[in-house]
Symmetry: C2
Subunit: 343 residues, 2 copies
């Protein structure tokens, strides 16, 4: 068992800097595409098939010597048992055919029992734990990020409907967020119970909020989830507020052990602001298109810039893009291991 990643999460000394990559199980891998195509199902069908989820989760760990695996799933999965109709449209991303706009819509949402409604997730976690020699990360979306999809009906550019609900119907917004929070809280607890050894909360859209709105309309729900988790599990918790450099003074209070950082901030400057937190990040995903020597040089610099951190988990600052040559991922992981090895 390689527990370097877990040690780093806890701020303990490690022999080298552990590395994993957001979306490491994904479309840049031909072997993923092969499994994805097998059975002719949709992306959602894949997410609900424990055998195939296990297979694609293991692929990058085996191929590239990653220090952690992350459950193959999607942050929107628990929104289906809440009562939402979810579809994935090619080139357009996730679509909720009936977005949440009214009190009636919010009242119709249920708080699902994760074991009963998403047994495939717990089954995947168990299958993975039996196979893995590195720690397994479970995850969820953060309530604000999940709410944007429910309210907008999918991805958005200016998040007009979400902010309108915040600003014009704050009670309705709160009731919606509270339901999503309750659902997410139970969902993450179930993942930990099933065997997830770390939990990451993805707040992919936090960065579209002014700090004053983030503090009121996003942060409290994350704090609530983490607070609940601490009562039942001691697994490390990672919170990733994407594009959140101006929110650090708030995200610091979320209660997480590790703060994820996107690539827009110099990691050294971020570390000076995160207090007693381990950091995770933050190479630009497109930096994987640098020529090999330049890529290595950039990784070396990033590792040096992160030396004063309480702990550092190397990652990209966002998900790896589908066009990435797999060999560049190999170079990256090897370079992190090589350059960070403590003498």
């Amino acid at each position: 068992m390689n527990d370097t990643f877990l040690k780093a999460c806890r701020g303990e000394k490690t022999e080298y800097t552990p590395v994993w990559i957001m979306r490491q199980a994904g479309r840049y891998l031909p072997q993923y595409l092969e499994v994805r195509g097998r059975g002719k199902g949709t992306f959602l069908d894949l997410c609900k098939d424990p055998a195939r989820c296990t297979e694609v989760t293991l692929q990058p760990v085996d191929f590239f010597n990653m220090d952690a695996a992350i459950l193959f799933s999607d942050i929107l999965i628990p929104m289906e048992p809440m009562g939402m109709n979810l579809e994935f449209h090619e080139g357009r991303g996730p679509v909720f055919t009936d977005p949440i706009r009214s009190r009636k819509d919010v009242e119709a949402l249920v708080i699902p029992d994760p074991e009963a409604t998403m047994p495939f997730v717990m089954e995947t976690i168990k299958l993975l734990r039996a196979e893995l020699k590195v720690p397994l990360i479970g995850f969820s979306g953060a309530p604000f990020t999940l709410a944007t999809y429910l309210i907008e009906g999918g991805s958005s550019k200016v998040f007009l409907e979400t902010k309108k609900m915040m600003f014009q119907a704050p009670e309705l917004y709160h009731n919606l967020l509270q339901k999503i929070t309750d659902c997410t809280s139970l969902y993450l607890q179930a993942q930990a119970k099933a065997g997830a050894q770390t939990l990451q909360i993805f707040d992919s859209w936090a960065g579209i909020l002014a700090p004053v709105d983030y503090a009121r309309f996003a942060l409290p729900y994350v704090q609530s989830i983490i607070n609940d988790l601490r009562k039942v599990t001691d697994v490390p918790i990672i919170y990733f507020a994407n594009n959140g450099s101006t929110l650090i003074e708030h995200t610091m209070t979320a209660g997480a052990d590790v703060l994820g950082l996107d690539w827009r901030i110099n990691i050294k400057k971020a570390i000076a602001r995160v207090g007693d937190h381990v950091v995770q990040g933050n190479l630009d995903p497109i930096a994987l298109f640098l020529p090999e020597e330049d890529l290595k040089q950039r990784i070396k610099q990033l590792l040096e810039d992160a030396r004063e951190a309480k702990g550092h988990i190397f990652n990209l600052g966002h998900g790896v893009v589908p066009q990435t040559p797999p060999d560049q991922v190999r170079i990256t992981v090897d370079a992190v291991h090589e350059f960070s090895a403590r003498a």
Copy 2:
């Protein structure tokens, strides 16, 4: 002549905080849509029609008592005489049908004479100066932002092609950026000569760059343009690097008088970092959907947070969205004027 805006740009004491709004002449105004529809032309046709450009530029100034007017145009206008075929597709935004990818593509680009190739812009500026009782802002895109459109062929999500050119063909990238810089430099000089009293450089996509890449691949071209401008004109220069909170230590060195701020950063924290710069911003455009009293409260707070600035020009943190009720713009401008009036 109301020169409050110009005084604020120069860091001089003003009787109140001047205000204008990005995209203030635009689709949220029924009167704009009326002019836009008149003549059945395209958006590009409107941009090339001095009479109608003048009309739509004046509308918000007259309706809402704005302290500055901004030339109605588009940052991509000078890309056409450079040799690019530009189209605007409904719902998809700007499209360059033949994106720049090769040395041949870059070599084919020309540095246009702005007066000869864009006489409609200079004509609009002259018509506006004859009408306006407030200062006129001219503008351009920043070279990096313009390059993203040329290389991607339009808007983008991860800017893969742009970054690939930077990382894999830095010389080609530099040659392209140098040509865009030369074009933009002449274009802004011509606007000042025609009568523009302030120049704003929009770096709409600066925020997708890691600071290390911004410093190398975006900032030097802005510095070059501003340096050239200083030799021939003393009009104030505003530089707006959108989503640029982690870039402030670099944007400070661009040479501008005023730094534009997007809404993601608390203005007080930004002011503490901008040194000897006037700031412009930074209300969330969607905050215009707040109920009247909440909107006023937020404006009051923003003005208070900006009190320690060398100078403050009130603006949104990005363009006003088309769905905005015009009355909310009126409330905003009136509130800025009322709350900022020095006793």
